[in-house]
């Protein structure tokens, strides 16, 4: 019998199934630095509202399962520079330098190009939708888009 609506689980119930090391493993192909992966893992499943942490873990785990089930396909091309995922700061407080105030994961342009031509307004809007927002959303969106793009590539698309 499904739980009644608005039945809230305890904190320990929500976080008990989260295993950060599995997220770390998912990130590894795209984020080679271990400390960067640790930071991103924290943003995905150890910060923010509990239900977002749990949801991120579940969705990314399922994508991870799918990734293991799909054939490896042709050799993965070298990743392009990718698009930055900025931290949410007031504009006047953004530190100087391109590498500052962005998360150590990039959104592959190819993923977005499947839906809109590069340089178009739709392309920009899609990037905004994916990379904007609190990190538990933005980083999760970018990682999912990255994994999905890779899955499509491996399936010949």
């Amino acid at each position: 019998m499904p739980p009644p609506p608005h039945h809230h689980r305890s904190q320990s119930a929500v976080t008990r199934f989260i295993r950060p090391e599995e997220i770390d493993a998912l990130l590894e192909p795209w984020v080679p630095d271990a400390e960067d992966r640790r930071f991103l893992t924290r943003c995905l499943v150890e910060e923010g509202p509990l239900h977002h942490r749990g949801a991120n873990f579940v969705l990314l785990r399922l994508l991870g399962e799918l990734s293991r089930a799909v054939a490896s396909g042709p050799e993965r091309p070298a990743p392009g520079p990718g698009l930055p995922v900025p931290m949410r700061l007031p504009p006047h407080l953004r530190p100087d330098g391109e590498d500052d105030a962005v998360y150590p994961i990039r959104l592959p342009e190819r993923a977005v190009e499947r839906l809109a031509p590069r340089g178009s307004r739709d392309f920009d809007a899609i990037v905004d939708c994916l990379a904007d927002g609190p990190p538990q959303h933005a980083v999760a969106n970018v990682l999912m888009a990255t994994i999905l793009d890779d899955l499509l590539r491996r399936s010949g698309r």
Binding site: D36, M87, L89, P95, D99, A101, V102
Partner: protein, 211 residues
């Protein structure tokens, strides 16, 4: 006959405002110890309850534990790879040792917020330009994937520890995901035995690294 003049509490509060609770305690205990254990005991009797950090430092001295120099080795390891380090809360002995040991490429900032206000300009002057004072309104400008926040812990007891309230002003839920590391450096090395006046309890697990 007392070892100390009547205004001892005001004197300690003045020292703590500009040196930090633990560093001020170390200084007072060290000077008192030169006059023997009775002086340390009197210091602890008079100031232990209002300043539990001093009580802990004095207790360690009375147990025979010497007041050692500060070794930043353990905390340095937690800061590896960082280019910017922002400190909330202040402990002179510990920050002095850390700043000396850090590479010159690491920018070090100190958030200007404290429950006991000292002379911030004089505090910063002790670091020959290595320490930048950062206003509360602007500290988020130090965020980044190679940035860390650091504060001082006053004893870790199981799952909890105590920090200066400055940490809570800074390390909110919105700030945690924009700094790579949130580091707690235990400066006391033992839990306090008295009610932790001046300090706030936080979960030890809220830090990404402990030293």
């Amino acid at each position: 006959m007392s070892f100390f003049a009547p205004g001892l509490e005001d004197a300690f509060r003045t020292a703590a405002a500009e040196l930090g609770m633990c560093s001020a305690s170390r200084l007072f205990v060290r000077e008192a110890a030169s006059d023997g254990p009775d002086a340390v005991a009197e210091l602890s009797d008079r100031l232990g309850r209002p300043f539990p950090v001093l009580d802990a430092v004095a207790a360690a001295a009375l147990e025979g534990a010497p007041l050692r120099g500060v070794d930043p080795g353990e905390v340095l390891a937690t800061l590896a790879g960082l280019r910017r380090l922002l400190v909330a809360g202040f402990e002179a002995d510990f920050l002095d040792a850390l700043v000396r040991a850090l590479s010159g490429e690491v920018r070090v900032g100190l958030v200007r917020t404290a429950f006991l206000e000292g002379d911030w300009e004089r505090i910063a002057d002790n670091y020959a330009g290595r320490l930048e004072l950062v206003e509360m309104a602007a500290f988020a400008g130090w965020a980044g994937p190679r940035s860390g926040l650091l504060t001082f812990l006053y004893g870790v007891e199981g799952a909890v520890t105590h920090v200066a309230p400055a940490w809570l002003r800074v390390a909110g839920d919105d700030v945690r995901p924009i700094f790579r590391e949130l580091v707690g450096w235990d400066v006391l090395g033992r839990p306090m035995s008295l009610y932790p006046r001046w300090l706030t309890e936080v979960p030890a697990g809220s830090f990404t690294r402990l030293a």
